[in-house]
């Protein structure tokens, strides 16, 4: 493991409880390990399953499982409002991949508070990211066969961009190695849909 180049890479992931953010994080961490990379990931549980914000991290070449403000090379937002909320973790000029499809907080769903529209979020992201990709993850997940696989669509897009020290093939291998065959096929399809989604 130590013979490989020690490229440091920090990925910050954010989403909503119940969305499968931690499953995606673990999958990506397993993929990094399968690629022989020194990986650490972190997550904060607790009240996550009650519809709160879920944040997780994946770091390559680092010992710490935590990412501070301005430290993330890549920000993965599985929900656009959470992408915006977590933007301060991004290193200026970093890469952002985000879903465009909202899971509105209760206060927004009930019309008590407003939420920025996707164009405003894209503008905010563009103001500090070097590169950004937006995908309709929920729709891609449904198209693949399960709404939760939308997260894997985002991982597929990330791997296809060449932003990681491993490619789609290693991700696909890990999906097959760690999931039941039927679930794996849905996720492979989601991964491919994400990878092929036009920039």
């Amino acid at each position: 493991m130590s013979a490989l180049p020690q490229t440091r890479l920090r990925i910050f992931m954010t989403g909503v409880g119940g969305q499968g953010t931690l499953t995606a994080t673990t999958l990506l961490a397993r993929t990094a390990l399968a690629a022989g990379l020194p990986v650490t990931s972190g997550e904060i549980h607790g009240m996550a399953q009650r519809g709160g914000v879920v944040e997780s991290t994946l770091l390559i070449g680092c010992k710490s499982p935590k990412i501070g403000p301005g430290e993330a090379d890549i920000l993965l937002g599985f929900e656009p409002l959470e992408t915006l909320r977590a933007l301060s973790y991004l290193k200026p000029g970093g890469l952002v991949l985000s879903s465009t499809e909202y899971l509105p907080p209760l206060s927004v769903a009930c019309g008590r508070e407003a939420s920025p529209d996707i164009e405003a979020i894209k503008a905010k992201v563009a103001a500090c990211a070097g590169q950004a990709r937006f995908l309709p993850c929920r729709s891609l997940g449904l198209q693949a066969g399960a709404v939760q696989s939308g997260n894997i669509a985002l991982l597929g897009a990330l791997c296809a961009m060449g932003a990681l020290p491993f490619g789609l093939d290693v991700l696909a291998d890990t999906v097959r190695a760690t999931m039941k065959p039927t679930v794996a096929e849905v996720n492979i399809k989601a991964m491919e849909l994400g990878a092929a989604y036009p920039a």
């Binding site: 972190g42 549980h45 607790g46 935590k66 009930c110």
Partner: protein
């Protein structure tokens, strides 16, 4: 598929959660007995043991509280079993009484107490530093920083404990429990079956005459352990220079990354401390000799800093020690609260080395810029759709209103603090709702119409609410106790408690019936309801309100998430909002009083998301415009 945690091939590397690595470490040490009370961030340790129990060669139990868990574990080690007891940091307070005596009597079979601390209060009511318990009780303490170390130190702590016949503290923090990293497995030991309890009253019965020599033996043991700490492979010196850094726990990870970030590797002298108590004095003396400045990195209390300052004074060393203590020539650099980070350690390091401060540019969500988006709507955790607690809170508040005092407890139902339910006015600790509520009621008994209502969940009631209820009866307190029985321990991940009939692993054959228990205590004013039956619940609460003394409402309905998983409950109906909604003008009552996450506004009209609706049908009982229809089975 067999789990690698039980039957993984030695030499293989797996990506493990810190808590899974602790499980594997225990398995490699030959663990025979595990007791616990679940609590974030420790829960995945017992939950994994519970899930894998059919594969493993160990005895496991969820005890009713941490004191009981440690007493059960204490008994098991007295009978010769290699034992692990797990809990979150505040649980050690509950277990403190047996802990401090267990250090005297010892642990013949070996016993490790896992204390999972929570700097930053990610999921706790305080951020106490349980390394202090190691000092208070006299327990050797190990503190891992990576997944590999979580496994290795668990195995080492168990082996050490068994060798010494003394309990050992394994202290983690949330970041360590919930990190994932590569872990290379080793060969598990197979221990002989426990020898059974060996009678020796002077060793195991701490009457004063025996307790005094027990204390002396403990003090002598701690002195001999300094050598072990000095030579421990978990305590290592690296780097060079006249500036030194001592780091422990997860701070070691932050330090390693901060050194790398600043290209300072090898340019400062580093002492990594994993075996942190008793303090490895000889090793630290060697480390400090020749240093001009020493930075001490530890989250929360200045525990190591205090001991290292005392050691430096004893050795007559004149180096400058920088940590958390303010004053003198060494202003505190580091906070005594919250978590550390790479950025914080990096800043401290640069300051100590006289390097200019580095500003980290960060992207700004700029949530105050109203032209772009305005302040971002928060996303607080909320009671789930169909949660029976919402129904109980709604009914209690309808009857009692804002003037009553609501004593809360620890569980999902603490989320009832949020508007519109606002059903939590104060909270001390697990099981405090009934007793603290009794105190409030007694001290305000001269005030007119000062009703006190205590809310407590089923698991918390078994944990330490029963004693409060007995006390309330005995001391003739005046309050309404609402036992929110959702048939599981929901908040920490659906662990069983004595009252459940189902667990994630099947049926619970011996159920303690709360209704019979309350009746057995002699409580006269008792009502049992299904809170999803709104009318019946209101009636019961109104009747109880008209009475005085200790009154108990048992609101029983399974957590819908658990019911789906454990009871295989199928949902046949969902609620929908009929066209008639809004005909008599804008109302929105359902949104304002329920805060059910299945509700949303669709272009000014209230709607219910059929995917989120659990079919509890509480809302139907509140508004004639909400109706039921056949739902897709999910």
């Amino acid at each position: 598929m067999a789990s690698p945690l039980i039957s993984g091939t030695p030499g293989q590397t797996h990506l493990l959660l810190g808590n899974e690595a602790i499980v594997r470490g225990a398995v490699e040490a030959g663990i025979q007995f595990i007791s616990c009370y679940p609590g974030t961030p420790s829960s995945e340790v017992p939950d994994t043991f519970f899930r894998l129990a059919p594969e493993g060669a160990y005895t496991f139990e969820y005890s009713v509280n941490e004191k009981v868990a440690l007493e059960i574990g204490g008994g098991a080690t007295l009978a010769g079993a290699l034992t692990l007891v797990t809990m979150k940091h505040v649980g050690v307070n509950v277990a403190a009484d047996p802990l401090l005596t267990l250090a005297y009597t010892g642990a013949p079979g070996g016993l490790v107490l896992l204390s999972a601390d929570d700097p930053g209060c990610h999921s706790s009511q305080n951020e106490q530093d349980n390394r202090i318990y190691a000092r208070l009780a006299g327990l050797p303490c190990l503190e891992p920083a990576t997944a590999q170390e979580a496994k290795d130190m668990t195995a080492a702590a168990l082996a050490l404990s068994r060798e010494l016949g003394a309990p050992v503290l394994l202290r983690t923090t949330t970041r360590v429990n919930h990190l994932r990293g590569p872990v290379t497995l080793a060969e598990p030991l197979v221990l002989p079956a426990p020898v059974g309890f060996q009678k020796n009253a002077s060793r195991f019965v701490p009457i004063p005459a025996f307790a005094r020599p027990m204390h002396l033996r403990l003090l002598a043991l701690l002195e001999t352990l300094r050598d072990r700490a000095d030579s421990s492979p978990f305590n290592t010196i690296s780097g060079a220079g006249t500036v030194g850094v001592v780091a422990s726990g997860i701070s070691r990870a932050y330090l390693a990354d901060a050194l790398q970030e600043n290209s300072l590797e090898g340019q400062v002298k580093v002492l990594d401390l994993g075996f942190t108590y008793p303090l490895p004095e000889k090793l630290i003396e060697i480390f400090m000799t020749g240093l001009s400045t020493l930075l001490v990195l530890e989250e929360l209390e200045p525990v190591l800093e205090t001991e290292i300052r005392a050691l430096a004074q004893k050795l007559g060393l004149s180096l400058t020690i920088i940590g958390k203590m303010p004053g003198g020539k060494t202003p505190g650099h580091l906070p005594r609260f919250g978590e550390f980070s790479v950025g914080l350690v990096s800043a401290a390091l640069r300051s100590v080395l006289g390097l200019p401060a580095k500003t980290v540019a960060a992207c700004q969500a700029d949530t105050t810029d109203a032209n772009v988006c305005g302040p971002l709507a928060n996303r607080p955790p909320n009671l789930c759709a169909g949660c029976p607690h919402r129904a109980t809170y709604l009914a209690v508040r309808k009857v009692y209103g804002d003037a009553a005092i609501y004593s809360s407890d620890i569980g999902c139902y603490t989320l009832g603090i949020l508007p519109p339910l606002r059903a939590a006015d104060f909270l001390l600790c697990m099981g405090s709702s009934i007793s603290a509520g009794s105190g409030v009621a007694k001290a305000s008994s001269h005030l007119k119409n000062q009703d006190v209502i205590a809310f407590i969940g089923d698991s918390t009631f078994f944990h330490s609410g029963i004693t409060g209820l007995v006390n309330a009866l005995f001391n003739r307190h005046n309050l309404l106790v609402c036992i929110l029985d959702n048939r599981t321990t929901a908040m920490t991940g659906h662990q069983p408690n004595p009252g459940v009939d189902k667990t994630n692993q099947g049926d619970n054959p011996v159920r303690v019936d709360i209704e019979k228990l309350v009746a057995g205590l002699g409580i006269e004013h008792f009502r049992k309801v299904n809170p999803l039956n709104h009318k019946a619940t209101l009636k019961a609460i109104e009747e109880l309100k008209g009475l005085t003394g200790v009154r108990v409402l048992l609101a029983e309905e399974p957590c819908p998430l658990f019911a789906r998983r454990a009871y295989g409950k199928k949902q046949t109906q969902v609620a929908y909002v009929a066209e008639s909604c809004g005909e008599k003008g804008d109302c929105g009552d359902c949104l304002d009083i329920l805060a059910c996450p299945a509700f949303y506004k669709d272009g000014g009209k209230v709607a219910i998301d059929p995917l989120l609706c659990s079919g509890c049908m509480l809302c139907l009982q509140l508004c004639p415009n909400i109706k039921a229809r056949k739902g897709d089975t999910k």
